[in-house]
Amino acid sequence: MIRLERVCYRYEGSGAAVEDLSFEINRGEFAALLGENGAGKSTVAKLIDGLVKPASGTVTVAGLDTRKTKTSELAKRVGFLFQNPDRQICKNTVREELAFGLELRGLDRAAIDERVERTLRDFGFDGERGPFTLSRGERQRLALASIIAAEPEIMILDEPTTGLDYRECMRVMEAVKGLNENGATVLMICHDMEVVLDFARRALVLSKGRLIADGAARRIFRSACAMEKASLSPPQITQLSLRLGAGFEEADTVGELAEAIVKRRRAV
């Protein structure tokens, strides 16, 4: 669904943001892109939705070479949630905001109205509210809702939970999870390892623009080398089970660790 082959990209006047990067994400995957600030994560997101084009190498999205495809064409296939929702909200009411992306895609009025009503219902929004009277978390959900209304095949999320409180974070992530369960491919940039553990199945770790680890999220968390290189700490329960050693290799959640403890006590 998404394929990067030996991709390089550098911003004018600075070093390489992305260096010889190759990976592939298949249809229906839920992957997280991890790394420090400045590791190149947002650049990868922009390369995928065509906002920047590779200096060398190829980025293929849903079979389309991003260098040969208009960004507007890619936008029909790829939904992009910016870190700051205020960068994408541009209408005066929630209803207009939800309809905007669908109008750009050229849907007919009846289809637009039907999808807008459904999204309003699913997210519990008041369609007549002004977007900027909503809290930051609600605006983030609105930005996400407008993308979901367009039913993209691929969803790129750049730190979707930044600035949100816990409850808002869970509501946003549940919506993303629903989209993924309906078949969308999700790539999420995220600094919160607990969120990654709870929602992503695969993790790709970037450091200085290069891919240093790629695999099941739980396995990556247990790779001390990759985590240290990217200055990341595993989620708390994984840290704990790593310290406890043999018998706790599969325990990454509270329930799993409690079970492993009970099992070990029985064995003794």
Binding site: G35, E36, N37, G38, Q83, S135, R136, G137, E159, T162, G163, L164, D165, Y166, R167, E168, H191, M193, E194, S231, L232, S233, P235, Q236, I237, Q239, L240, R243, L244, V254, G255, L257, A258, I261, V262, R264, R265, V268
Partner: protein, 280 residues
């Protein structure tokens, strides 16, 4: 140090109070983490402590806030800014100079300090915050964590007794977030600076803060030592505040009859507790 009594504030034109009957005493040398869902009144509380409310934002104001014994209502913002320095949520909006050095100098020059004193404080604060190497760097080339440090340095240069911070790690990665909180902890421990930080990352607060203030819908729901507050993890979750996973683990082990309810707030504590359980 900071004394808040029956504080209620309604922003001009708003129907609902942003703060309702908040009372708290923050001791000198305290490190208080303020947490709560969006719209709980966290930033409003901070704005009442630094005097932005009532001096800048108007509204109905009841109760009192005293900083070092002085009512903020009777002090000017200038006076208050020398005692309580604020690092705002939007650090990019706060840094207005071209270079790190200019940013730190800005406040000092505005307060008209003697030249020699300015030079001495500049050296001291750059060293203290660990950004001496960035002195001549253009602010636009700094990382998020570095910018946050510059904002803290600029405020520290005025030698405040209190540091107020609104989500200082909002856009930082985990390593930079820890760097900022380690710096705050050091200033708190070594210099006795009282720290009040609004923060959503509960794991940072449980590691670095000494007290937690939990707000919800304008009210102060819990205020006390971190461990005491985290004991109310189920109520906190209902409010919309999550707890560190090791706290949930403590609860789970107690529920299964494996412990007598020891609350672990860090991975170190949890490891010791689990080993005790395993040894039976």
């Amino acid at each position: 140090m900071i004394s808040v009594k029956d504080l209620t504030f309604v922003y001009e034109g708003a129907r609902k109070a942003a703060l309702s009957g908040v009372s708290m005493e923050i001791r000198q040398g305290g490190f208080v983490g303020v947490i709560g869902p969006s719209g709980a009144g966290k930033t409003t509380l901070l704005s009442c402590m630094n005097g932005i409310i009532p001096h800048h934002f108007k509204g109905d104001y009841y109760g009192s806030v005293k900083i070092c014994g002085k009512d903020t209502f009777d002090c000017s913002l200038t006076e208050l800014s020398l005692v309580a320095g604020t690092v705002f949520q939007d650090v990019d909006g706060m840094l207005i100079n071209a270079t790190v050095e200019d940013e730190v100098l800005y406040g000092l020059e505005n307060f008209g300090l003697p030249k020699a004193e300015i030079a001495a404080r500049l050296e001291e604060v750059l060293e203290e915050v660990g950004i001496a190497g960035l002195r001549r760097r253009s602010i636009s080339t700094l990382s998020g964590g570095q910018k946050q440090k510059v904002a803290i340095a600029a405020v520290l240069a005025l030698r405040p007794q209190i540091l107020l911070l609104d989500e200082p790690t909002g856009e930082l990665d985990p390593a930079s977030s820890r760097l900022v909180f380690s710096l705050l902890k050091r200033l708190n421990r070594e210099r006795g600076i009282t720290v009040v930080a609004v923060e959503q990352k509960i794991m940072l607060l449980s590691e670095f803060a000494s007290e937690l203030a939990v707000m919800s819908e304008g009210r102060l729901e819990f205020f006390g030592p971190v461990r005491e507050v985290l004991r109310h993890s189920e109520e906190l979750e209902k409010i919309g505040v999550n707890c560190p996973r090791v706290v949930a683990l403590s609860r789970e082990l107690e529920k299964r009859g494996l412990t007598a309810g020891t609350l672990c707030v860090s991975v170190d504590e949890a490891e010791a507790e689990v080993r005790r359980v395993l040894e039976g």
